[in-house]
Amino acid sequence: MARRFLQGFRAIGEAAALCRPQVVSAYPITPQTGIIEELALMVADGSLQAEYVNVESEHSAASVVLGASATGVRVYSATTSQGLLLMTEVLYNIAGLRLPVVMTCVNRAVSAPINIWNDQQDSVTLRDAGILQLYAETNQEGVDLLIQAYRIAEDHRVLLPVMVCMDGYILPHAYEPVDIPTQEQVDSYLPAFKPVYRLDPADPVTMGALAEPDKYLEARYMLHKGMDASLGVIQEAAAKFKAEFGRNSGGLVEAYRMDDADVALVTMGSLAATLKEAVDELRTEGKKVGVVRIISFRPFPTQAVRQAMAKASRVVVIEKAISLGSEGPLALDMKAAFYGVTRPPTIESCVAGLGGRDIPVETIKRLLDQRSPASPHFVDLRTDLELEGVETRRRITSLPRVTRRAPAAASRLARALYSAPRGATS
């Protein structure tokens, strides 16, 4: 194992290569491009023996890895934001076909308005697709989860795609010291993929055959049971990883200073680092606060979540996504997790950091001063902007017409082109 100072892109690229994917297909999109550039480079210089398939869209990239995975080889892809949304139709198929595709989602906001910065609306939107979603806090964890992801996905109790989610810019763009395991270590941790079924011209099969109403429900139930089983497999993968690589990485949830905590701050991904810093400061002030970081958003680890915050009476969920017209998706799951429990904690839904808005430690501390005024509570919503159509007292009007003096030649041209022909009545 060698601890090196690497950009996240390189670290993820090397981790993917160590897993020996035989087919890689992806389409470049900010802020994911760096990962697939690294992989393309490795294939070009021969250090990665894989087929790198250039495609014209993310829909095609997902289709290529679907087909390749169906033939029984290990595959890798990566995308973000609009690219993930374009992949969605295929990703539902990958899950339904029970193909252990592994991909990295570099989390980015979705359009409109166009915004290339970080939030988690893209991956969270795929909540119901049958894809396992694991969220990394650091580049190191992004590397470790990627290696674990293949072990989880290819387990015959699971056989489902896994998406490792990393906050765009905050993680893959950043340089951090990262332990990149050796090929021997990864080979020993990750046995060769043994498919249950595979496409083979010598023994043809149909995959994803038509299921009429008398069987479709059962097929979906089987998917759900695969998700259920993955809860245990994720924990096994993390335990084996700890045993072989010597560090804690992955698992279902991470509890930080939660042993005696009255208040639990809950989040996913890199924001946990900010929350931990806030908690450290609040602890010096004598406040019993802790952090519960959800690593596995799908499957949702209800039991582990309850266990992690057994003593908390107040739960503040801070997440970078919103289910428009409802609340934060993670908050919804948290509320469901505590339904029916005797003396459940109060659970607040805070939506923060959308589209790359910074979430400073001060914001977190201020959040804890009082109960959230609304649910969902949009954290740090600016009050200096007039939000048209939001304040009901104001009527929606069109933008004021911009008038400016055009240069003489331009205005003559405009007159010639757009004025009514002579003699026309209007």
Partner: protein
């Protein structure tokens, strides 16, 4: 009955699943007068259910034919006609 992971089935299940009952109510009639075995009807059949070797032995498999009429439409010598099915 077993439902496999990923709903994987052995190839060739369409042989077991006879779909001729979906037919529209018209069937092709192979007149076998001017047929020159050009094979165009068999190639154009969307169900792939027209068979024939030599001129005048072309026929459609009624366990699969949907009565779409494409064979009659493409026949260059007008040797196939569509007619109401008598069941």
């Amino acid at each position: 009955m077993k439902i496999t992971v990923g709903l994987v089935a052995r190839a060739g299940t369409s042989w077991a699943n006879k779909t001729g009952s979906w037919r529209t109510g018209i069937v092709p009639k192979f007149l076998r007068q001017k047929c020159n075995a050009c094979d165009l009807c068999a190639l154009a059949c969307p169900d792939g259910c027209i068979y024939g070797e030599a001129a005048k032995d072309y026929h459609a498999d009624m366990e699969f034919c949907k009565g779409c009429g494409i064979c009659a439409k493409v026949c260059p010598v007008k040797d196939i006609v569509m007619e109401p099915e008598v069941r």
